[in-house]
Amino acid sequence: MISQILQGLFKHIDSFLMSCILFTILVGLFVLYSASGQSLDRISAQLVNVTVALAVMWVAANIPPQHLERIAVPLYVLGVILLVCVALFGEISHGARRWLHLGITKIQPSEIMRIAVPMMLAWFFSKRESSHRISDFAIAAILLLIPVAFIMKQPDLGTSLLISASGFFVLFLAGLSWRFLIGGAVVIGALMPIFWSMLHDYQRRRIEILIDPSQDPLGAGYHTIQATIALGSGGLTGKGWLNGTQAQLDFLPERTTDFIFAVFGEEFGMIGNLMLLVLFSLIIIRGIVIASQAKSTFTRLLAGSITLTFFTYAFVNIGMVCGILPVVGVPLPLISYGGTSMVTLLLGFGILMSIQTHKKLVASG
């Protein structure tokens, strides 16, 4: 009886993916404990985030993909409307206009778009199954650029980058021609100098600092310099949990959120870093397998996009902390402190699980 209920409860949970995710989250809690100066308050707050996110994941895993396909368009339209509202009467906080007051609560519509954009594009291509012409890709690109433009304007570089990536992956997986891809890259490369010459000095300066933070060591570059010192001094095996001097001595800014990887790398060293990459790789491989086995165009594209977006998260964040990518506000997935990114990530994994487990049911039934 009880085992039946349990079986029912976990019917739509992919056990391999679930194990990897839970293990990564656990690692994250340990790092957070160290990074926050051993603050149990932070840990319990993060546990609340994780609980909420897991519940969201469970719900998503239990919704059949066909239902998801049906809500793709309304969700996207709602998201765009909310983005317009943010642009018109959003609340400004820390110099960016991202939040919308809805009487009782505040929401950040750009977060909705993280999942709504790949869903919308996957739906779009699944409706045009037989023929994917250039014009289809053009329409899809417009569907992608509308929300990205709004979010860029807020400004929220990190989120718009991730949404662009998620949309690009759908386009690519739907069969965007290689010729077009290479041609596009060449054209953009050729247009760069022209674009550059049109910019104001101060705009150029901001881009230069974005690319090479060491030019502004008192501002943007400070993070990167301190993060590389923390990482480098971790060495091969790391200084050990709770022993990272740079992290503990207040040298590292934003060490529980965007720069938490520096704490991890200082305390667990290169070996720890590689193991984390392996953990991430396992999640990505599982996602790719799910995508390759998916039965419909919609689920295939969506699964592929969710998986590769997760990869983008991880790569951009670690790359930025290591000083090989510009500093944009992207958290380390499953590890950085914060509820919003945890919920959107696990929502994505819930959809992956739904795609995988409902396929089995359809096949067997």
Partner: protein, 649 residues
């Protein structure tokens, strides 16, 4: 056949999809390999380097604050500069017992109660880990004394810092402004403007006046040194450095000597004066009386001085030219006259027969002239000269409020002048729409009538009044008023001259301008309301006097009866430009509770013009006394045969 093609397509598509997934998988592999390589580089290859930085030494990025730009007047007289002084600073978080430490320090160098009060005030405003000055301006002996005993005081540092100093003290303080310590709100603003990193190491920021509005120019670019420091925080080695770039210097259009003459002419009286060069918009003098010493604010003002300034009935901290609002009174009449003439009304030889009052059609209410019994036969030129209320009541009525206000708005009434200091208010030019919005009441015809003589809801700032006069003098061409005429780049030495910018051009009939001008010239000739101002001038002066009821700067209720009496006297206003035929200077003067414009405000304007036009210094004489009898509702003429204008009730 068709279905088999579709199947084939499907298979192709499946195959292509898997191929693409594989390509992305390869991308993941490459990307993660790059990260792994980077880990190897940072954590294995350069481990020793970073290990050294992290463990034995630490990298510290030390900002080098730039020198703040100077401010000087048009002749190069320095109004704000910097000099090095020794300061003794304490970082509270590094000190075990703050009171004992301060007591010990006091045995070595003098620490006054003033210093202590300031220190305690700053402590409440800053974080524990910030370094807060206990003593400033230590002399060499004191500095040496402390240096010898330094080892006894961990957390206390002797610093040589650049200090801002205003050598002329209170002269032009409202114009130059002052800098003060950066507070949380400043940090928010700097963050929003994305320049916070440029303020690392800076303790001060412009708080008012030009110091505030030209902060971007004055501050300069912060340099830095990347240094290795040992465990004690001492610099071991400089890794890299970038020199700071000093801030740019401001050159004002103001002549500080003229400013001084104007301020002295006010004596003990409160008020404001703004003088403008009409052809360029350059501001020649910018007076707000009483004034204050900006040096008090640089290190953080102490409580006593702050109370003294802030609670004073005279409100010395208010920037009167920009924030003092007054009814324009009769100084509004030349503009109303021009509005009438341009609308084709009241063209000579039109005249009225003034019986001493005006009535609206079908009404018996009398709008009285200031002169009981009236002025007799009055045309528009004479109406300006003798400030005939009855004439302008009728004119405003006939023009209507909309035509009148939309015309004078071009002269800047009801609008910010756009001067290069922050905090300007826009005054008020009332319209029926405004009244409906503000009071939810309809506009009454009687309100139009009194707008004609500058009463009713109309409010102006001295800056606006001066600018309107300058526009009139410049025949309708509005030049944007500015205090800074040049910005000198400290790096290259190049001076960027700020040109006059015409912000508006009103199309005016030369003939009408001439009529108004002649009316205004007559004001300073025998028979006009300010005949004494024009006496023996040697150049022709176009002017208009005005008197306004007291409602401007908010009155405090606490003062004693005598004071109330004095402070309820009318404000004296005076606008003028000269020489009338080729205006070189236009100005507006307001003397609060000064009584009549011609006698109280006029002489101040005359001294300023005498110096500016003729280089004549005012004779050394005891400060002119305000005529004590000239109060309330029954003013007595202060100069015989000069009609005294007065407010209607």
């Amino acid at each position: 056949m068709r279905s088999s093609t579709e199947l084939k397509n499907y298979q192709n598509e499946q195959h292509d999809f898997k191929l693409r997934l594989a390509a992305l998988g390869l991308l993941v592999l490459i990307a993660f390999s790059i990260l792994a390589a980077r880990f190897y580089f940072l954590q294995v290859k350069r481990y020793d380097y970073y290990q050294t930085l992290a463990e034995n030494n630490r990298i510290s990025i030390v900002p080098i604050t730039p020198n703040r730009g100077l401010i000087s007047d048009r002749n190069g007289v320095v109004l704000a500069h910097n000099f090095f002084v020794y300061t003794l600073e304490i970082t509270p978080s590094k000190v075990e017992n703050l009171n004992d430490t301060i007591a010990e320090i006091a045995k070595l160098v003098e620490v006054s109660s003033f210093d202590l009060k300031r220190f305690n005030k700053l402590r409440t405003q800053s974080h524990n880990f910030e370094s807060i000055p206990l003593r400033t301006h230590l002399n060499d002996v004191e500095a040496a004394k402390f240096a010898v005993n330094r080892f006894r005081f961990p957390g206390v540092e002797l610093k040589s810092r650049l200090f801002r100093h205003y050598p002329l003290g209170s002269l032009g303080a409202h114009m130059v402004g002052y800098i003060g310590r950066i507070n949380d709100k400043d940090i928010e603003n700097l963050k929003a403007a994305e320049v916070l990193s440029n303020y690392k190491g800076s303790d001060h920021i412009g708080k008012s006046g030009l110091e505030q509005s030209y902060e971007k120019e004055l501050h300069g670019t912060t340099g830095f040194q990347q240094v290795e420091i040992d465990a004690d925080g001492k610099a071991v080695r400089i890794l890299s450095s970038k020199a700071p770039i000093s801030g740019n210097s401001l050159i004002l259009s103001t002549d500080i000597k003229l400013q001084e003459i104007a301020e002295k002419a006010f004596g003990e009286r409160r008020g404001a004066l703004v003088a403008i060069k009409p052809s360029t918009g350059e501001i020649l003098a910018f007076v707000s009386m009483p004034t204050f010493d900006p040096n008090l604010f640089v290190d953080g003002i102490d409580v006593e001085n702050w109370r003294l300034l802030n609670d004073s009935l005279d409100k010395p901290l208010i920037n009167r030219p920009l924030r003092g609002i007054y009814p324009p009174g009769s100084t509004f009449k030349p503009f109303a006259a021009l509005a009438g003439l341009e609308a084709g009304k009241r063209q000579p030889p039109f005249s009225i027969s003034d019986a001493g009052y005006f009535t609206l059609p079908n009404s018996s209410h009398r709008y009285r002239d200031w002169k009981p019994g009236g002025h007799g036969n009055v045309d528009i030129r004479r109406a300006i000269t003798i400030s005939c209320d009855t004439f302008f009541y009728g004119l405003a009525f006939e023009l209507g409020i909309d035509r009148l206000t939309s015309f004078v708005r071009h002269f800047g009434f009801g609008e910010k002048s756009g001067i290069d200091i922050n905090g300007e208010v826009s005054g008020l030019l009332p319209t029926p729409e405004w009244k409906k919005r503000r009071y939810k009441q309809p506009w009454y015809m009687g309100e139009t009538v009194i707008v004609g003589i500058g009463q009713g809801y109309t409010l102006v700032t001295p800056m606006q009044l001066a600018q309107a006069t300058a526009i009139l003098a410049n025949k309708g061409i509005a030049m944007r008023p500015h205090l800074v005429s040049g910005i000198s780049n400290t790096k290259t030495g190049a001076i960027n001259t700020i040109q006059g910018i015409a912000s508006d051009k009103i199309n005016l009939d030369e003939k009408n301008l001439e009529i108004v001008k002649l009316g205004m010239i007559d004001v300073t000739l025998p028979g006009g309301t300010a005949a004494s101002v024009g006496a023996n001038a040697g150049y022709s002066i176009a002017a208009k006097t005005g008197t306004a009821q007291v409602i401007g700067i908010k009155q405090n209720e606490k003062y004693d009866a005598d004071a109330i009496d004095e402070r309820h006297r009318d404000h004296a206003l005076f606008v003028t430009y000269a020489p009338a035929d080729d205006p070189k200077i236009a100005l507006a003067v307001i003397v609060e509770n000064g009584g009549h414009g011609g006698s109280a405000a006029g002489p101040i304007a005359r001294k300023v013009m005498d110096y500016y036009l003729l280089g004549k210094l005012p004779p050394v004489e005891p400060e002119p006394e305000v005529n004590q009898k000239n109060t309330g509702a029954t003013p007595k003429p202060s100069v015989t045969n000069v009609p005294e204008e007065e407010l209607h009730d």
